[in-house]
Symmetry: C2
Subunit: 427 residues, 2 copies
Amino acid sequence: MPWSNDKNSELVERARRVIPGGMYGHESTALLPADFPQFFSRAKGARLWDVDGNEYIDYMSAYGPNLFGYGNSDIDAAARKQAEFGDTMTGPSHVMVDLAEALVSMISHADWAMFCKNGGDATTMAMTTARAYSGRRKIIVAVGAYHGSQPWCTPNRTGIVDDDRRNIITYEYNNIETLEAAVRQADGDLAGIFATPFRHEVFSDQMIPSVEFAQAVRKICDAQDVALIVDDVRAGFRLARDCSWSILGVQPDISCWGKAIANGHPISSMVGSHRFYAAARSIFATGSFWFSAVPMAAGVETLRLIRETRYLEQTVELGDRLRAGLHEQAAAFGFSLRQTGPSQMPQILFHEDPDMRLGYAWVSNALKHGVYLHPYHNMFLNAAMTAADIDQTLQASERAFAELKADRTRIPANENPLVLARLKLAR
Amino acid sequence: MPWSNDKNSELVERARRVIPGGMYGHESTALLPADFPQFFSRAKGARLWDVDGNEYIDYMSAYGPNLFGYGNSDIDAAARKQAEFGDTMTGPSHVMVDLAEALVSMISHADWAMFCKNGGDATTMAMTTARAYSGRRKIIVAVGAYHGSQPWCTPNRTGIVDDDRRNIITYEYNNIETLEAAVRQADGDLAGIFATPFRHEVFSDQMIPSVEFAQAVRKICDAQDVALIVDDVRAGFRLARDCSWSILGVQPDISCWGKAIANGHPISSMVGSHRFYAAARSIFATGSFWFSAVPMAAGVETLRLIRETRYLEQTVELGDRLRAGLHEQAAAFGFSLRQTGPSQMPQILFHEDPDMRLGYAWVSNALKHGVYLHPYHNMFLNAAMTAADIDQTLQASERAFAELKADRTRIPANENPLVLARLKLAR
């Protein structure tokens, strides 16, 4: 069946009438090549089908949640079993305690856990806990780092007032001098410092922080007796079976989790050390569905698979295989890629591609050959992928490179104003 | 089997080690009588079982989400069917459009819908949309009204900074003079006015607003060209098959939904009129699980049941039957109840009970007789309840009143410091 997107187009038209812009948020295709489908009908393992029936090897994994494959049989069996007993009830199930115990046993710095729904719930609770602990106000975050879409952290300031940001101070990720300047700017009113495990921003190369940087953050937080908060929502359990900064030998006080911890079932979490137990207890945070048992049962099973399977080594091996193959192909066709970040969470940008027309055309070509790659957001491999999937991907990417080379002089400039605005921001 | 709570006590002990305070948020039993169970093992229809196996007729309905009975077979079949296709994917399913169309067709003022996870996501998006539309900052809310646990609206200010509230102005619910004073205080910088459908605050009598009040809010918002936002998260579809203020003949610009719209499956929504389409489109709001298809499929089926069944008339009839029965019983035993709000969302407080010792002792008695009532939060009937359930409830409540009368002079003062603090706040 040749690739088509007629049904998607019809659905987008219907959506525009009843959803502002037809879609919103991080899964909107507004910044993607025009032919990327907006609506999907099915997902299984590492595969995704759009509403026109086109099948893809999916490198987005639902923007992170899919760690063990869509519809993983063990995890979904645990969810279905819990659903027979109860999900959203007048109180939590015992499985909430099981899940908290599992997280605490796996995350070195964690002595306790709280659960919520959005990654942004967890980061906001961490900010509030840091302020409750210290009695101080200022929060230091890296420029451009994404910590959610709440007023204090959303990257788009439309409808946001200055007061929402009055206590936010920024530093350059992995840059100790700018961090120290931010601490001086806080002027004794510092409550906490946020860091993502590595820099994973849209439209930018990813960056692994140095051990020295991580140690410097830890040292400052110790000296000021304030919270070091690692936002592990996106990368959690994709780099380690522990907090991601455990690789660097640095333990935060609080870390934030979400996305993959229940393989796509909706749950997020803030975990922390004993020192912050009383502060975490003193804040008020809740939501209608925060204590639902089904995502917690799915989480318990996901954590078991994290402990007992080679998912991590496997996604790294497959990521390395993909990275090496793409590097070779790009060179063969006269292109040069910037492949940054952990290979299991790859960001792929083209050298000498200021308006990203090459990157956009290449992923658009790959899409037609059955591979869903992303032109500006880091991707996520999952444990349902096999070496055969990588090889099939490399066959598709080779065709995509060949077409890119053939079309090179005819590729139109990237004229999407939203993309151009983001590119300007990223520079 | 006699009532016992040994397993619950063990679990609470385990929970304290790994969850701050053992539990948090609105489902915490910290403010409830000491014997109220914290953990539950099962829920079906109108019934709930705690971890010790005690069975209850549940008048909390998961604090609102359970509208058609726990594990409703039609709704859960729709959810299971969608789960076979896909839930959290790299993009939404067509069911997102179906759900938006269904909401728009049912809610008179709605021309579009956006989906999120927490009620607080929807209220925060409404605030941001109102600011984006008007370019102004001030938001007017009723004193004590609950709009979520985000920094701008959480009822507990621990860890919250003054800047989070700098643009929030309050009025007394259902009081036009105080509303007008709040508008004057906004001094030309007004962005929007929030109102709950009726006053449904903890530890307080509920209050139905007058038509004049609702019309006054509408008139002010029209005159200032700002958003009237009805927060229908708690009461939505429990008073009407439309926005709750449709009963008063007043249409808001934006309304917020959650809780019951998918019968316990996790989803919330902001809906609005054409005039606010562009503003809603201009904001950025998203979450890892906001586009998951399973809760949307459950929502579509829940909305069908809302349209096609007598659930609303039935819950009103059962609520009236309960209210009349309790009124009679209370009088017979020499007590007097304040039963306020819609009978399907009853708040039951005792007259002449300043520290609430009577109310607390009575619900504690009823608990042992198999009925889960709440001493300070409005309750929620659900459509799985039958007249026989109400009669069984009234048998239990009669025994609870008889015991209360027998113990009357020996009931200890309510010494829970958290409760006393809230009572002081509510007065």
